[in-house]
């Protein structure tokens, strides 16, 4: 049983597609990089997977997972950094699946939260308000929350943007740990070197699938060129899409 199954999925906004006719499967425990230029539809695809964007067409099967089995780290989180909440409490919200509305945070849960804080290298920051953290520290906090969510499927949208190399190394180690624990991980990325070295499977996206498979086979200059040539077409008077299963390669 695949962790994720796309059947002719089209995702977009206001009837205008951002990702066209994507079909395919992600095996359980896969470590998948989603690459493509800006506007290729990476974020849109990830939003579709976590269920905050409904497909315009086609279906995404989660293979028995429900929304609570997914941890999602958005590209630009809409976090109100001025809100008076401590690092400890903020990361603690990752336990929502277990605690829900009223569940208490007991000794075991506290230890879990402290371990997660330690795992991202933020020990000692427990009582700091989130508003006082640097960009890299905030990203560590978000990773710690994902860690606590203990999800079968982890979706990361450009998690290493504007993050220095030390932080990237630390957080990448976490991603590989999740992979080692058999969780399915999807990450939208721009760093080809990182994809080549650390991700087993790659989906090249350019408003539709350009190539999808083992990274070594997919990450070729030809495929990347096709993806880069993609234009961000947006036509207000576009006709309804007639393509059936044809992958649209905008170019």
């Amino acid at each position: 049983m695949a962790a994720l199954h796309f059947h002719n999925v089209t995702l977009g906004y206001d009837r205008h597609p951002a990702v066209h006719h994507l079909s395919g499967e992600v095996a359980p425990g896969a470590l998948v990089a989603v690459i493509g230029p800006n506007g290729a539809g990476k974020s849109t695809l990830l939003r579709g997977i976590v269920g905050i964007l409904r497909p315009l067409d086609g279906t995404i099967h989660l293979g028995g997972l429900d929304a609570r089995d997914i941890a999602y780290l958005p590209q630009s989180a809409e976090i109100d950094r001025s809100f008076p909440i401590s690092v400890f409490d903020f990361i603690g919200t990752g336990l929502w699946r277990g605690t829900g509305l009223f569940g208490g945070i007991g000794k075991a849960a506290r230890d879990k939260i402290l371990r997660a804080i330690g795992a991202v290298g933020l020990s000692g920051f427990e009582n700091r308000p989130i508003g006082t953290l640097s960009g890299g520290q905030m990203q560590r906090v978000l990773f710690a929350r994902v860690l606590l969510q203990d999800a079968r499927l982890i979706v990361l949208d450009e998690p290493f943007n504007a993050i220095d190399s030390k932080t990237t190394t630390d957080l990448l180690a976490l991603v590989k740990r999740w992979h080692g624990e058999g969780r399915t991980v999807l990450a939208a990325l721009h760093d080809m070197e990182m994809v080549r070295n650390h991700f087993t499977e790659t989906l090249v996206l350019a408003r539709g699938p350009v190539a999808w498979g083992p990274t070594a086979e997919v990450l070729t200059p030809e495929n990347l060129l096709v993806a880069m040539r993609m234009c961000e077409a947006f036509d207000d008077s576009a006709a309804a899409c007639a393509a059936d299963d044809v992958s649209s390669r905008a170019a």
Binding site: I79, P84, T93, P129, Q149
Partner: protein, 289 residues
């Protein structure tokens, strides 16, 4: 002498004791709501809602005279209608919540003033606009206490999703469907608190005992729990001092309470530990780490 001025009015007059009880109930329930309004950048939403409840209260007044039960019920219905309509329009069309609320509350306010001026007298209008905490009877006090209790209970139920939705709404959406209901419940609590304050302070000032304490708390703490506690204490102190001031002078009670809160607010702006002006001007030498 001091005893006579500060405590005497309350031992001597029952109406002062009732007013004090009412103002403490309002502080306990209203101030936490005010803190969330402020943190969710909805301070002016509270103000808008205060106007929105006017037609309901006016209709209640016309149907059964100066009966506060009828006015409360009417105010609640009008407030809920506006809050829920605005919330639904905002969530289903993507129109910003403030814009959506502005249209509904203006319509509601126009309707309310029309109703009061067609049927009532100017004195009625003044009573509706500014309230009178000193004219509170036992029944009304019970209504106020009941509303305050309900507010605190519901707030306890929605506290966690409300906090998470305030910090990171997208996260809450991915883990739970509690965000929408919690938001609507919160709007309902805003309405209840307003209607509650409405009998004591009137439509125009009811929101004052919610927002000013929240503003005060913001200058003394960076922690949500202590912010809420500070806000409650600030509201209760303003209420008490306002009543004393009003008793000793000719200042009407509602404005007296809000003016005291304003003075505390100004002191906080100047000397507050968190971002106060004096603290910013004379921060002391920088630390080592």
């Amino acid at each position: 002498m001091l005893y006579g001025a500060l405590i005497g009015p309350f031992t001597e007059f029952e109406f002062m004791r009732r007013a004090l009880a009412a103002v403490i109930a309002l502080a306990l329930a209203g101030a936490p709501i005010g803190v969330f309004l402020m943190l969710r950048r909805m301070s002016l939403v509270g103000d808008a809602m205060a106007h929105a409840i006017l037609p309901g209260a006016a209709i209640g007044f016309l149907l059964s005279g100066l009966n506060l039960f009828a006015m409360t019920a009417g105010g609640l219905i009008a407030g809920f209608a506006v809050a829920i309509l605005a919330g639904v329009v905002a969530r289903s069309t993507g129109l910003k919540e403030d814009a959506s609320l502005a249209t509904f509350y203006l319509a509601s306010l126009a309707l309310g003033v029309t109703i009061v001026s067609i049927k009532g007298t100017n004195i009625d209008l003044l009573h509706v606009l500014f309230g009178n905490i000193l004219a509170m009877d036992d029944q009304t006090l019970l209504v106020v206490a009941f509303n305050a209790t309900v507010t605190l209970l519901v707030l306890a139920v929605i506290y966690r999703p409300l906090v998470i939705e305030s910090v990171d709404p997208l996260f809450l959406r991915t883990v739970s469907r509690a965000g929408g209901p919690a938001h609507l419940a919160f709007l309902a609590l805003v309405v209840i608190s307003l209607v509650n304050g409405f009998q004591a302070l009137g439509t125009l000032l009811a929101v004052g005992l919610m927002i000013l304490p929240a503003g005060i708390a913001r200058f003394w703490s960076r922690d949500l729990t202590s912010m809420i506690c500070i806000a409650v204490v600030a509201a209760a102190v303003s209420g008490y001092a306002g009543l004393v001031l009003s008793f000793q002078t000719r200042v009407p009670s509602g404005p007296a309470i809000i003016l005291v809160a304003t003075v505390i607010y100004l002191i906080s702006v100047l000397f507050g530990r968190v971002g106060g002006i004096v603290r910013q001007l004379f921060p002391g030498r920088h630390l080592e780490a």
